[in-house]
Assembly symmetry: C2
Homo-oligomer: 340 residues x 2
């Protein structure tokens, strides 16, 4: 026995219904509500029995309806992705309204995007701050802040890589710093981060006097690469509305994952460029998330720098809505951040 056209249609109907109601779906429902070729519930029942045998459906207990398995969702999203669903005008408008285009700082843009996505989809959104892979330094600037401290700004082709306060020699005047900035810009201009490291060590050896400054810059580059605090979450509370997490123990475990940066990143990352990654249930690799799915997608800024946007929801997520939302937002983000 194998999958045929009719089985497939029935399966899709079951998934659609389960996504909406979160209740096991019975044969009668499919027959009445979705009327696949006017088949009776008995026929549907036979087909459902087959689908269960094929591993697409689970039955919580006899005499409940059936619920889709991970395998079923997999098939479902593959079909969806092939189909390429569209974002409705209404949703485009809503996304626009929620998204604050006046935000200027990268972090603000990201935070606003996370909020917009979560508000529109009613799931939890995760957005990572873009990170250059092979970005090149364009400019280095030190701004005096106080005795012994200066703000270091690293500018790359794709925008600000990092700005952070570093320690400097207390005797350095603003003019000194300006001079050093010029020197560093000259030396590092056009180099990738990897190259910068080597170069800095070399300069550090050469100019013993500014060792402290150089060390600060080096540390900032390393941090910029690893990236601290580079992921924002929006709509944490949204997840609590789904019956899947009405058990507060489950909800807690889930929220804890959302507070652990590393786990969060592992969930959302590894998305191939410009295409979706969908992880369903156990595929997420995080035990606490076995009842969740994660849809993620990378976005590009210019040619090099990429970040990720993702949505976390129950396995019975409305994939068909989430996918176009992410698709749209990835484009908006890419454009908006280009000139930051």
């Amino acid at each position: 026995m194998q999958m045929d056209e009719r089985k497939s249609r029935i399966l899709m109907a079951i998934i659609d219904d389960y996504i909406m109601t979160a209740m096991p779906v019975g044969s009668r429902t499919i027959s009445k509500k979705y009327g696949i070729g006017g088949l009776s519930s008995a026929t549907i029942r036979n087909e459902m029995s087959d689908l269960e045998e094929l591993g697409y459906l689970d039955q919580p207990h006899t005499s409940a309806g059936r619920i889709p398995s991970t395998k079923a969702y997999r098939l479902y999203v593959e079909t969806l992705l092939r189909g390429g669903s569209e974002l409705s005008d209404d949703e485009t408008r809503r996304l626009r309204n929620h998204f604050d285009r006046r935000a200027r700082q990268v972090e603000d843009v990201i935070a606003s995007a996370a909020r917009a996505i979560s508000d529109v989809t009613l799931y939890t959104a995760v957005v990572t701050v873009p990170k250059g892979q092979t970005t090149r330094i364009r400019r280095v600037q030190l701004v005096p802040v106080s005795e012994g401290a200066a703000l270091l700004v690293l500018v790359t082709d794709t925008g600000i890589l990092r700005d952070t306060v570093i320690r400097v020699d207390g005797q350095l005047t603003p003019d000194h710093l300006h001079e050093i900035s010029g020197m560093l810009t000259e030396e590092l201009h056009g180099l990738t981060l990897d190259e910068v490291r080597g170069k800095l060590s070399e300069i550090g050896g050469r100019l013993r006097t500014h060792r402290k400054v150089i060390e600060g810059v080096l540390a900032a580059v390393e941090q910029g690469e690893g990236g601290a605090k580079d992921v924002m979450v929006g709509g944490r509370a949204n997840l609590l509305q789904y019956p899947e997490y009405s058990d507060s123990e489950k909800a807690r475990a889930l929220l804890n994952v959302l507070e652990t940066r590393e786990k969060l990143l592992s969930l959302v990352q590894g998305a191939p460029k410009m295409s979706f990654t969908i992880r369903i249930g156990d595929e997420t690799g995080v035990p606490e998330m076995s009842e969740c799915s994660v849809v993620s997608m990378s976005y590009r800024i210019g040619d090099e720098s990429t970040g990720t946007i993702g949505v976390i929801g129950p396995t019975r997520m409305q994939y068909a809505r989430v996918i176009p939302v992410l698709d749209y937002m990835s484009r908006v983000l890419g454009e908006l951040l280009k000139d930051t």
Copy 2:
């Protein structure tokens, strides 16, 4: 009738018990477990009846025990604050372990502090980034980032007020920007933020050519006062473990508050310098938080700049533990951030 020594002791015992168990406390429990002067449950009952009349106790229904009212908690925390409880060595050690002292960036320190506090207290922690009150501008610097964009850095006596990307005229060269930086620094140096506003409008009128830049600076000043992205939350999930929020609707409302920066700030702010503010239930001023208490405290960096740390938990919070934790952390934070 009024409060006397014995009533007070009984009330304290009731509060202690309720804090631990979250269950209405009966007269028998007090008589057996806390044995106030060997009184029988009947006597305690009479006293409890009086305490209810005085407004310190509520009764969910006849034949349940009683629970402390807001007024009771008020009295309780006043007593605690007068007593001045100490942080145990064990807890000091745990705080140290959880707190990452290697963090260098202000944001990282703050985030780490929030996590440490929430891990140790098992409540939710809120920490704001320090902000100067009567700071004066010391320096203004524009760093070129890309065509039409520059990073604006506002430096005050207490450090960086704000750095943000603003739009500038596309034709401005790095040299131009440097020049403008010098001019602005000269004009604004030594002014308070309020004065800066007036001055900027004046300059804007004078120098029509750089209007776009001036506008950007002005916007940054206003934002810098309000302060963006300056609050961190740790241990959101902790709250879900308390029976008060086992109802997922309540939990959702609560989490939503934690996602709204403004509400969060209003909760935690307004703490007088170096002393505790405790808001119990409705005193928080946020309807969704009527079953929560917020304990907050400000910490100082140097003489001017202050931030706030706070803990959010159920009204039956373990105040006696939370207070010394905050006390300790406020000192640690103040010291640690002094040299950033």
